[in-house]
């Protein structure tokens, strides 16, 4: 039974602090490869940079289950050198432009520090302050002579830390999933073939998962990700009917998002597993968003798929926040469900 202790928290810290913007996942890939070395029967890096690891079970009649966790995070790419260490940039993935001004960033493989500034308030008009600052008027500033070049990626610079029962850092979406998948691979149950895909380019179109699912050709797929928790008070003090998930209620199981209608057989299997093990879970509110499951279930002639996510607040910003207990319970639920996974789960028709 895998557990989350200091070693796992240290790993999460390294993963969160690593920079791996979609299309340039090398830094996280390196950590993953080192962590899973010798823990799988087969490990390879594919044409897009996905890490695919296969851990075969030992029992008879095993299902081939693909677990996918995306390694990439949202961020920036420098696209033009304005001189004096100042660079124009483009946003990669969905980041609310209002999250950008006044932030520290890390640029390139060497994590060169930089900032995204804003016009001094003194020079702005009241009217101007009512409008969002457009991205194309913002720059990344490394200081005069700062070393970088167009094509370099950049991320928010927030260092990972623990605060009481919570975890705070950048890119918890989806380093929580990556860390979870590493633990599952290390503790793979013997009744399944575990096909682990640490995927790339999820944030810009589920590209890694698409080719990974084609290559692995699994019997079923589970995306392990982080999902927003909008469980803050609403402006009018009324109870809000739209919150997606809530911190502290356990792993979030998907029924429907914009990319996938989860296979009901798998949702039932997960809820049954949670109830049997006395683990908490919550149904993520059906609605928008999407995970790697969106690509997995459409692979080849179709793959039953579902998503399990760790709830976290303030996704795709400089500082997101999750509860340690939710992460622990997500890992526990996935592991216990996998140990209960038999061909009977998929025996009937969807």
């Amino acid at each position: 039974m895998p557990a989350i202790g200091n070693a796992q928290l240290k790993l999460l810290e390294r993963l969160s602090n690593a920079c791996a913007v979609s299309g340039d996942e090398g830094e996280v890939r390196k950590i993953v490869l080192a962590e899973i070395e010798g823990r799988a029967d087969e490990i390879k890096v594919d044409a897009l940079g996905n890490v695919l690891a296969i851990k075969k079970g030992s029992e008879r009649k095993r299902l081939r289950v693909m677990l996918s966790a995306h390694m990439d995070e949202v961020g920036f790419m420098l696209v033009a050198d304005d001189g004096e260490g100042i660079f124009r940039f483009e946003v990669i993935g969905s980041i609310d432009p209002r999250q950008l001004p006044g932030k520290a960033v890390l640029v390139g493989r060497d994590h060169t520090p930089g900032v995204i500034g804003a016009r001094p308030i003194h020079l702005t008009t009241a009217d101007e302050r009512k409008r969002a600052i457009p991205v194309d008027s913002l720059r990344i500033d490394l200081g005069p002579g700062g070393k970088a070049k167009p094509g370099d990626r950049a991320t928010f610079a927030t260092p990972f830390r623990r605060v009481g029962p919570s975890l705070l850092g950048k890119a918890l979406d989806n380093r929580l999933g990556v860390a979870t998948l590493i633990e599952l691979l290390r503790n793979a149950p013997p009744n399944v073939d575990l096909l682990a895909a640490f995927t790339v380019q999820e944030e810009i179109g589920l590209r890694g998962a698409k080719v990974a699912a084609f290559a692995l050709d699994p019997d079923l797929g589970i995306a392990v990700d982080a999902t927003p928790a909008h469980d803050q008070p609403s402006w009018d003090g009324e109870p809000a009917p739209f919150y997606n998930t809530r911190l502290g209620l356990g792993p979030a199981l998907y029924v429907a998002d914009r990319a996938t209608l989860s296979d009901p057989r798998l949702v039932r299997w997960l809820t049954d597993s949670a109830e049997a093990a006395g683990l908490p879970y919550q149904i993520r509110q059906p609605g928008g968003g999407g995970t790697d499951a969106g690509a997995i279930h459409r692979a080849r002639a179709g793959v039953p798929a579902v998503s399990v996510s760790v709830p976290h607040r303030y996704p795709h910003t400089a500082a997101s926040l999750a509860r340690l207990d939710d992460w622990k319970n997500t890992l526990a639920l996935l592991h216990t469900a996998l140990t209960r996974l038999t061909p009977a789960v998929l025996a009937g028709e969807r």
Binding site: K30, P150, I204, V211
Partner: protein, 352 residues
């Protein structure tokens, strides 16, 4: 070697809107057939031409994708002899009024896109651009004759003939992406005198403008080891001087970003440096906006690269391209192919 410019002009004049590429495919087939070992059409009409390499079987292969489809218009409805229109591919309705077109009815008919008088339009169009739903084609024929010759779903293509402008530049419609087809032709011609180890699939894809359909399907069928996509990109010019535009006539672009394999991109850059072929690096952080978005994610994933040919006024009937850039792109491609060693894939890794 037949002349490039007359061939390019033929390419521009050949009809071939998305999914209806038959005529232009035939023109390209005629030109490529003597340059390759085998040539055929895919089930959707993409042209697949193979030059066999000299390496031992199983030989690696490189697929060069150039889409051959054109954007244009389609008849949605006929009203009193006037034709209502929908777009095929992305057309800016603001360039349409006064445009000469060919209506591909039971026979080809000349026509002109007309902007009805503001008095015939809902309020607000005295000065504002008139959207496609209100533009019409007038063929000059009487309604009865139009009803005989034209049906709902008939295609309408731009009739602007190609022009040679100063400085060895060409203007015309559909230079996106027939300019790249011409560059690939240059590449195939250059390879006549150059041995190469890898198989080369020269592919003219269908229906890029409406969803990269040829790229998805041809890549799936041929399963190449590598893909290079050749497409046009934005040239600097009036109204376009941003970071994502590149000088006309100063060489092709080599595109880097999430759709492109970094090692393949670097190999092309190194080669261009070595050959002293001028180029610019183009940054496409998320989407390349080309067939590479499809080729990269086909099957288990295929390392892809993109070479861009700078072009002004994209998706208008007067796109402008420098012939020099076409030749450079073709030469770079040929040299790259000739330099592919049997073990080249050992270099296409993720060196983190």
């Amino acid at each position: 070697m037949p002349e490039l410019i007359p061939f390019l002009k033929d390419l521009l004049s050949a009809p071939g809107l998305s999914i209806h590429e038959g005529p232009v495919a035939e023109l390209i087939r005629t030109r490529w057939a003597p340059l390759v070992d085998e040539i055929s059409l895919s089930r959707l009409g993409s042209l697949h031409a193979r030059r066999k390499g000299s390496a031992a079987e199983p030989r690696p292969s490189i697929l060069i994708a150039t889409h051959m489809d054109a954007i244009g218009l389609m008849v949605t409805r006929i009203e009193d002899g006037f034709l209502h229109l929908a777009q095929v591919g992305g057309v800016d309705a603001r360039v349409l009024p006064g445009q000469l077109v060919t209506v591909h009815g039971r026979q080809d008919l000349p026509g002109v896109v007309i902007q009805p008088s503001p008095r015939l339009l809902p309020p607000g169009f005295e000065e504002n651009p008139v959207p496609l739903e209100h533009l019409l084609v007038d063929t000059g024929l009487l309604p009865r004759r139009v009803n005989e010759l034209v049906r709902v779903g008939d295609l309408v293509s731009f009739a602007q003939p190609p022009l040679e402008l100063a400085g060895e530049t060409i203007a015309g419609h559909t230079l996106d992406n027939r300019a790249s087809v011409a560059a690939l032709t240059v590449c195939l011609e250059t390879l006549q005198n150059r041995p190469h180890a890898w198989d080369v699939w020269a592919v003219a894809t269908v229906a890029e403008e409406v969803g990269l359909i040829g790229a998805y399907t041809s890549t799936f069928q041929l399963r190449p080891t590598l893909v290079i996509v050749l497409d046009v990109t934005f040239a600097k010019g009036p109204g376009a001087n941003e970071w994502n535009t590149f000088p006309l006539g100063k060489g092709p672009t080599l595109v880097m970003g999430a759709n492109m394999h970094p090692a393949l991109h670097k190999a092309l850059k190194d080669l261009a440096d070595k050959l002293e072929i001028p180029y610019a690096v183009e940054y496409a952080p998320t989407h390349s906006g080309t067939d590479a978005s499809a080729t990269q994610v086909t099957a288990e994933g295929i390392p892809s690269a993109v070479i861009g040919i700078p072009l002004r006024y994209m998706h208008t009937p007067v796109e402008v391209v420098a012939v020099k850039d076409i030749r450079r792109a073709g030469r770079l491609l040929a040299e790259f192919i000739a330099g592919l060693t049997p073990d080249f894939m050992d270099k296409i890794t993720w060196d983190d």
